[in-house]
Every structure is written in structure tokens, then in C-alpha cells.
């Protein structure tokens, strides 16, 4: 806080006195001397001088809290509405539930030809298959791209990056034809098998980025000890890339669980419905008069995603910040 800048002293002190920085900020800035200046009194990179009066800070937080409220309110309202009798749902805009109706959940659960647990199970099987598929196949491809030198590597790499941006619609029709000819429509295979074949370029790219960050000395040491690539991959790289694998698993979970388009196309038999298709069928069958039950089942389909978000947030943020997938 010494000799520098045209910043008013008091505000500078306010910044230093603010103390509480959160985890990542601590990592970034904790090492720095107070006030973020180096020995020569210059500002250190990564620590922006801030002109922030308490008043500004209050306004900012107020603004953010209001925005956060607006963002989250529809969700909270849906939760509240799932406990309201139908005739009250569209008369109560608040979150206070004046009259609790527990029946929405059991009613919705059994509204379709199969109980909702069946759809949850279908979705769970699909999710599990896709997670295993992505973890195995994408990590193998990523290892090759990140650590091996081979013919046509560059062109293959470009192709892989391109698949990330390719609209699925250009392959869905022939894929459907193909899968229907081998009798896979109304099974989970058309959705799981492509994952086993590393078609999710996002995750390959994410893992490549991660492997590039692992020091090469690790695998070179193993190679000197006589380990071949399968061993280096399995025993050196894989254990070190657990965070990237976790990110992949969580994103795959959320995306597969939320996927509507492909399951709508491939899973037309009600006993194969995933939760998303079931929810759509629910709208069709009840003509939307049973809002309470519809909201209740909507909540049921959102809970797994919400939990994955809650527990996987650290990985989600990292994954999204490094590769920009969403």
C-alpha cells in the first residue's frame, strides 16, 4: 500500500481490509504480499487494483442478489407449485403454500402406462452406459492425441475438433436408417454405442488438454523402466487424470439425462421411455390440466441433474472454463 498510484488511500485500504477471498482467489492471490504489490512496490500481475467504496459494494451486491432471485424464482415457484392443488397453482405467484396437496407426486408417478420409476430406471441405464462408453473410449483417443506421434495425426485431430461443431441433424437420419435396419430402434444401443466409439469430441478434447498438463517426465520414467504404452496409459496417465474423468462423467450424466431429441427418435415404445420422453408423453396424455402432477414429475426429472450439479460443480466449472463445453 506504499508509494504508488493515484488511487485514493482510503479506498485502497478498503480493498486490503476486505480479507475474505474465496478458495480460488486465495490460490491466485494468497501468495502475494498485502495489497498485491511486489518488492518494488509495483502491482503484481493477477491482482487488479480496485476502486471500491462500501457504497459501491453494497449496490453491487444488491444488484446481484436481485438478479439471482429473478434467476432462481421460477424454479422455486415450480417446486412450491408441485405441492399445491391444481386450482391454486395459477392463483398463487408467491412461494408460500397455503394448502398442501401431497397427491401430485403419487398421481404423476402413476399417470402413464408404466410407473415413473420405470422411466427413471431407463434413464439411469442409459446414463450409466454412456458414462462408461465416454470414459473408456475418449480417454484412449485422448492419450493417443496427447502423447503419441503417428501418421495423419494432424488431420485426424482436425477431424476430431470438427465433430465437436457438427450439427447432429446431418447424421441422425442415416443413423436412424442404419439402426432401424439392424433392429436397434427401441433399444438403448443407438444411444450408447456411439459413446463407446468416442463420438463425443468434447470429452476427447477436454482430456487432451488435461493430459498435456501432466509432466512428460512421468511417462518417460515409466518408459525407461520398460513399460509399454498400454501400461503407461493405465498405470500412469489414467490415475492422474481422474479430475478430467470426473468432469466427463458428470457432463455425460447431465447431458444424457436431459437429452430429449435422440431419445424421442429412438425410444418410441412406452416401456423404453426415458424421463424426458415420459414427461413429454405426460403432457400429451393429460392435456396439461393436471399441472400439479406435471410439475411434480418435472421436479423428479430435475432432481438428479440438480444433485449432479451440486456435487460436481467444481468439475463442471473447470471443464467449462478450459474447453467451453456446456
Amino acid at each position: 500500500m506504499t508509494n504508488q498510484t493515484s488511487l485514493p488511500q482510503s479506498e485502497d485500504l478498503g480493498q486490503a481490509g476486505q480479507g475474505h477471498v474465496l478458495d480460488e482467489e486465495k490460490m491466485l492471490e494468497g501468495k502475494l504480499p498485502a495489497g498485491g504489490t511486489d518488492a518494488r512496490g509495483r502491482r503484481v500481475k493477477g491482482h487488479r487494483p480496485k476502486v471500491r467504496t462500501p457504497f459501491r459494494s453494497i449496490v453491487k451486491h444488491a444488484l446481484l442478489i436481485v438478479a439471482a432471485g429473478v434467476m432462481i424464482y421460477p424454479l422455486l415457484w415450480m417446486v412450491a407449485s408441485s405441492f399445491r392443488p391444481n386450482d391454486l397453482i395459477f392463483r398463487e405467484a408467491g412461494l408460500v403454500i397455503s394448502q398442501v396437496d401431497w397427491n401430485n407426486y403419487p398421481n404423476g408417478w402413476d399417470a402413464l402406462s408404466e410407473p415413473f420409476s420405470k422411466y427413471l430406471l431407463n434413464s439411469a441405464i442409459l446414463v450409466l452406459g454412456c458414462i462408461v462408453g465416454n470414459l473408456v473410449s475418449c480417454s484412449m483417443a485422448a492419450y493417443a492425441f496427447a502423447r503419441l506421434e503417428f501418421k495423419f495425426k494432424k488431420i485426424m485431430f482436425v477431424l476430431m475438433l470438427m465433430t465437436i461443431m457438427l450439427p447432429i441433424h446431418v447424421i441422425i437420419v442415416p443413423q436412424y436408417v442404419m439402426f432401424s435396419q439392424i433392429g436397434w430402434v427401441n433399444t438403448f444401443w443407438p444411444i450408447i454405442v456411439p459413446k463407446l466409439l468416442a463420438t463425443d469430441g468434447f470429452f476427447i478434447f477436454l482430456m487432451i488438454q488435461f493430459i498435456r498438463g501432466i509432466p512428460k517426465d512421468m511417462d518417460e520414467a515409466a518408459r525407461i523402466d520398460g513399460a509399454g504404452h498400454p501400461r503407461i496409459f493405465l498405470q500412469v496417465i489414467l490415475p492422474l487424470m481422474v479430475p478430467a474423468l470426473a468432469t466427463t462423467a458428470i457432463f455425460t450424466f447431465i447431458w444424457t439425462w436431459s437429452d430429449f431429441f435422440t431419445s424421442l427418435i429412438y425410444l418410441t415404445n412406452p416401456s423404453n421411455y426415458t424421463v424426458q420422453v415420459a414427461l413429454n408423453a405426460f403432457i400429451d396424455s393429460t392435456g396439461e390440466s393436471n399441472w400439479g402432477a406435471l410439475f411434480a414429475m418435472s421436479i423428479v426429472t430435475l432432481i438428479p441433474v440438480f444433485l449432479a450439479f451440486l456435487f460436481g460443480q467444481k468439475y463442471l466449472v473447470k471443464g467449462i472454463a478450459t474447453t467451453g463445453i456446456k
Binding site: 480460488e24 487488479r48 395459477f90 432401424s180 463420438t199 472454463a321
Partner: protein, 308 residues
Amino acid sequence: MSAIAELQNLSKAKGRKAPAKDNKAAHIFLIPWTIGLFLVTLGPMAMSLYLAFTDYNLLQSPEFTGFDNIQRMLEDQRLHNSLRVTFIYVLVGVPLQLAVALGVAILLDRGMRGLSFYRSVFYLPSMLGSSVAIAVLWKQIFGTTGLVNQMLDLVGIQGIGWISDPNTSLGSLILLNVWTFGSPMVIFLAGLRQVPAMYYEAASIDGATKWRQFRSITLPMISPIIFFNLVLQIIGAFQNFTQAFIVSNGSGGPADSTMFFTLYLYQQGFKQFDMGYASAMAWLLVLIVGTFTAVNFFVSKYWVFYDD
């Protein structure tokens, strides 16, 4: 480095021969990927290109019809309308979403109290957003008796049926897209953190205002991130399907106002089983997305600055 920056660099750096030495191992590690590339991606792409020039209903074998599908696309008013709807969605929805994402990311700048709390709250909708449940919710809250109109009622405004009015139905879907600004926001936050503080330092010594600093330091420094988000969100927005489907019960209504291109493609391919036409449409989509991306890359030379 992002996938897009990587692509840009690849086009710049050439030469440097790979000392091909791990060929065998690489082939083994790439077995699943290679099979997938040919069987699930390139093969179907080639077939789709062929189908685009045929009449095919899945029951009889494809019949080659030359440019009939293209001719039909030129004359199909509903298709033109679906393009219009999709373009509006992309050209209005994406910039709005990114502006909000950037604005909030700047408010959430480093070292602020409660950062991770705010980030979670703003990020959550983009994780939930693609599911059917959220589209269901949207349909209800923007309905005639929905939450939005109840709120307006409290302040004495008579609301309309936002979803059932062709003038506002697309707008409510654009709003839904804005609501899911969380993932570009997270990318912006990561980008903002990379801006060296000394630049702001120097600028404030020179007496630059906050706005000036934003324009002359922040924007150029994070221009690669803006570009990246722009490319990705545009590609994503062109493919929006679930929300339009649910909100309109799969019809694209009212009055085709939410008939997104992908929804029309789905109707043609998987409702009418007009697979040839759907394939032709799919290639039109690839062409459009590809053109947008290419133009983006081209224009980026003039406004995206790389530090190195």
C-alpha cells in the same frame, strides 16, 4: 486453450513433420474413435448427402430424384419461415445472452465476497435448461394465467398469453436462452482472470475512466473469449429443438412462430418419414452453420486480439 483457438493455430502453424514412431500403439488406442468416425460420423454423412438427392420414406428403397429436394426447399414457404424464426433466435438471442453473461461476469470480478455462491446460482439454469422440465415450466409461466401474468397483475397490468401469441412466443424462447447465460459466463470469468492487472493500473494512472478501461483493455484482452463464446453459442442456438418442441407440443405453433429449423426437420424426417427431404434440410443446416462459423473466423481477424 480452447478448441477454437486450437483450430486457428493449426491453420497458422505448418511444416514440422511428426517423427512417426508410435504408429502401432496409436492405431490401437484410436480403434474405437476410428470406427466411430467412419461408422457413426463420416459414413452417415456421406449417406445423408446421397439421401438429400433422393425420395426416401424408409419403406421403399431410396429413389434418386436429382435436385428435386433442393427445388422443393426453394419453394417451401414453411421452410423459409423456419429459417426466419431460427435466424431471429440466433441473431437476437445469442448477442443478448452473451451481453448478459459478460455483464454479470464483470460484476462478479475476482476477489469479491460470495463469488462462488453467485456463480452457482447463475450457472444452475444453464445446466438444467436443456431438459424438458424447464421447457414445461417456461410454457406454464408464460401462459395466459402463468406466473408472469400474475406478477404483472400485481402491478395492475393486464398480461397476454405470451406463449400462445405468435408475436411474443419466439421472444419468450429467446428469454429462455438468455436465462441460460451461465456457461458463457463461467468462460468469461475464466477469461477475465487472465487479464494482467498492471494494464488497469497503468490506465488508471493515466486517468482513464472505468468505461474507457473496459473498452480499451478488457474488451480487447478478452476478445478471444468473446469470439469463442460467440462461435459456440451460435452453433448451439441453430440446433435448438427441445424448447420449441415442448412449448408448442411439437407443432412449432402458434402460427409457426416457434417452428425452428430443427423442429421442421424433425417433422419432415420422423413424422412424415420424408427422409430424403430431411437429409437435404440437414445439409442446408450444415451449410448455414458452416458459413456462420467461417464468416466468424474471417471477421475475427479484425477484432480478436491475441497476446502472443
